[in-house]
Amino acid sequence: MEWIVPFILTVITASTPLLLAATGELVTEKSGVLNLGVEGMMLVGAIAGFAVTASTGSAILGILAAVAAGTLISLIFAFLTLTLMANQVATGLALTIFGVGFSALVGSGFVGFAIEPLPALAIPGISAIPIVGPILFGQDFLVYLSIAVVIGVAWFLAKSRAGLVLKAVGDSHHSAHAIGYSVIKIRYLATMFGGAMAGLGGAYLSLSYTPMWAENMTAGRGWIALALVVFATWRPGRLVAGAYMFGLISVMQLHAQGAGIHVPSQFMSMLPYLATVIVLVIISSDRAKIRLNAPACIGQAFRAAQ
């Protein structure tokens, strides 16, 4: 059974970037904005984090840079879709293509660089407890942050007035406007939060998961994060479960190959999407459920009527 602790540890590291990016996208979508550029924003965050860490030697600066880069690129998206009212789907796809290319361009000089991975926040004594110690108390701080952020977002959406306003804007932008809320401003903020979290998810990949830069290193995790939000039917609790389930699947894929089980790797990589499709079918069969949680105005441009 000695394999179980390292196995769980890899599941946690595989799930954390998904959870970070998906939490951000959940908030964005709750405000009624569909940003399909998560993959691109993650890549830009990954390279920004890696480049700054490699140049300055400070992981903290790197993480801040990743957050800033993710936010900035989501601002481009917000400007195009919210101010200029471009189509959100097309703009999001373009954003991903842009992120792939841009990160490859900036990152070409950093291929083959090595940096120290983020240190684990080991608490002397406690993290030495067998099994529970390394799993619960031996992670780097981004793992803890990802959990803290989900809990924060869950509280924000369920309990705070600002969260209520955010959901209101996603539910009916015209009603929110009529009552006097600034739909565009709230959506800008939600989109920027999504960008920041995607950047952070990217930074986790390049600073902790595999502390190096490789072109297109997110390898579809941005898309999984998008699928996760729908999978979780826009609920933070299910988002955690989903992220860890998808993390588990991706790790199992490696372990299955190592153990000589001949499941085609393509089959394993498609599992998260397959699971999302199945969940979509299931929740669509119960319209009330999807109506209660899905933001009704998602993907729709808002024009204040005169």
Binding site: A168, S175, A178, I179, G180, D286, R287, N293, Q306
Partner: protein
């Protein structure tokens, strides 16, 4: 000023008008607002005293909504001033307006369907309040003003009348000094309207000024102390509604003589053209109403009204008749000119000569982003032969749309205009025209004049009467009893998915219909024995 005394029909509310001494609650002075290509408000002035119920009358496009938005801070006036309690003010946002004590009940409710009543109320509060404290306040206001409402229900489960209560409670919680209601009664039953009026009169007695926007003139007459009439963005007059007739006010509104719908001489009815027998259908909506054993027969030349409070199965009935729901019922449970059609989709029913006008104009009756001629093509291409070998025949398609625009006086820039750019009344005239000009054998029309101004409504009513005179069977699903009384030959009432027996319009009083709307089917056996044997037997058979 001195006229408003004892003899008024409004009873106790009449006393409030004579206040006039202090400054007005709100004075609108020379307000002008221009949009590109249209002067929405042109030098509008009037004043509302505290405790006064003031009607703002005008057709669609007269500038009422723009004016309301200016008062509520959604829009800013280009010129002119708002004087609040004697002082000039700038109202920069709805937040400011609420702060000053202005409440607005929207015509199209500003509610969030997936949220609870309490959350909806919290969203419209300026100050952040503790939810538990707010709940207590809500319950208190509900009790004081007789507006029962469960704070924890989700809005999408509520009826239209209940939704409106949310809007009203929202406003009352802010202790408004001026309450604006935009077309508040379009969706209420007569009993609900009466309740609303009680609440409003009570508020007025407490000194709240009320700006009441409506085109239902007899309601204005029963409720309001004063009226300002707008036409084309200008104030064209003011009056005391209690001393006017509905007709005289309507004429002031539209600026010309109004002719009552001409019903022609007593119509002769032909064969049954639309027959529904024993139709039971589960609703395909989570919170819809199942249809339970519906029976009805509409003869050629007959206009039958379907009355009832919204949400009692009318939408399901319309969809079942139009073929929009999956048809699990026996094929002959719906017949068009004798042909069993219940297993047909909308296109095959249309081929048999039936046409349908749904309640929702944008997105159901018409595609908002498509031009009028394209929208005309969509339902009429077969009957009007607008397509050949899979291609659209441009010229007849355009001339069909032009014909609708001309015949039904649709005010638009032309057949190339996007459907979504038309005002509600004009688009409704276009859609009704599109179906009528196809010369249908059966027309099923839902809420023909909902949100439509008096001029357009009377044009639509006349068109329906003319159509029936040519031998078409017309089924009008409407919540507006005035409408049913104005045009229908017979009426059925829907309550909880069941339908009452058809009654000739002349034999049934508005109170009876009101009771039937409340679901009191038992009453009906006593009044019209002739009908009973046949229809009641059918109804009991499947109970």
């Amino acid at each position: 000023m001195g006229v408003a005394t004892v003899t008024s029909t409004t009873g106790e509310a009449g006393a409030n008008t004579v206040k006039g001494a202090g400054p007005a609650q709100l004075e609108v002075r020379g307000v002008t607002k221009a949009f590109p290509g249209c002067l929405a408000n042109d030098d509008i002035s009037f004043r509302i005293e505290p405790g006064e119920i003031h009607a703002l009358l005008g057709e669609n496009g007269a500038g009422k909504s723009t004016l309301v938005k200016i008062i509520y801070g959604v829009l800013q006036a280009d010129e002119g001033a708002l004087i609040w309690e004697g002082k000039p003010v700038t109202i920069a946002s709805p937040h400011d307006a609420r702060e000053m004590g202005i409440g607005l009940v929207f015509q199209h409710f500003s509610l969030f369907e997936t949220m609870t009543v309490l959350e909806n109320i919290a969203l419209a509060m300026n100050d952040v309040r503790d939810m538990d404290a707010l709940r207590k306040q809500v319950l208190e206001v509900e009790k004081t003003y007789g507006l029962p409402l469960d704070p924890d229900r989700h809005v999408y489960t509520l009826s239209v009348g209940e939704r409106q209560r949310i809007e009203i409670v929202r406003c009352l919680l802010q202790n408004p000094k001026l309450l604006i209601l935009d077309e508040p009664t379009s969706v209420l039953t007569p009993q609900e309207v009466e309740k609303l009026f009680e609440t409003l009169r009570r508020l007025a007695d407490e000194g709240c000024a009320i700006l009441y926007i409506s085109h239902k003139l007899h309601e204005v007459k029963a409720l309001c102390h004063k009226a300002t009439v707008l036409r084309g963005g200008k104030v064209v007059g003011g009056c005391d509604p209690r001393e006017e007739t509905a007709k005289s006010m309507a004429e002031m509104m539209i600026g010309q003589k109004l002719t009552a719908p001409d019903r022609g001489e007593a119509r002769q009815f032909g064969d049954v053209r639309l027959a529904v027998s024993n139709l039971s259908l589960e609703s395909d909506e989570q919170f819809g109403t199942d249809l339970k054993g519906i029976n009805l027969e509409v003869r050629g030349g007959e206009i039958m009204g379907v009355a009832g409070v919204a949400g009692n199965g009318q939408n399901e009935l319309f969809r079942a008749l139009a073929g929009e729901t999956e048809q699990e019922a026996a094929p002959d449970s719906i017949k068009i000119d004798g042909n069993p059609v219940a297993h047909f989709g909308p296109r095959r029913r249309r081929r048999l000569g039936a046409t349908f006008v749904p309640e929702e104009r944008n997105g159901h009756g018409a595609v908002p982003d498509m031009s009028l001629s394209e929208n005309g093509f969509l339902t009429a291409f077969r009957r009007m032969a607008l397509s050949a070998r899979g291609l659209i025949r441009e010229v007849p398609t355009k001339s069909f749309a032009d014909n609708i625009i001309k015949t039904f006086d649709v005010r638009t820039t032309g057949s190339g205009a996007e459907a979504g750019s038309l005002s509600g009344g004009n688009l409704q005239k276009f859609i009704v025209g599109r179906e009528i000009l196809q010369d249908p054998g059966v027309l099923v029309i839902s809420q023909p004049t909902w949100g439509v101004d008096a001029g357009a409504a009377s044009a639509i009513h006349q068109a329906l009467l003319d159509l029936a005179a040519k031998g078409t069977a017309v089924l009008v699903i409407s919540q507006d009893l005035d409408e049913i009384y104005a045009i229908c030959d017979s009426v059925v009432v829907m309550a909880e998915g069941k339908m009452s027996k058809p009654r000739p319009m002349a034999d049934v009083s508005i109170e009876e219909i009101g009771l039937l709307m409340g679901g009191l089917h038992d009453l009906e056996g006593q009044t019209n024995p002739a009908h009973d044997t046949q229809v009641e037997g059918g109804r009991l058979g499947q109970a």
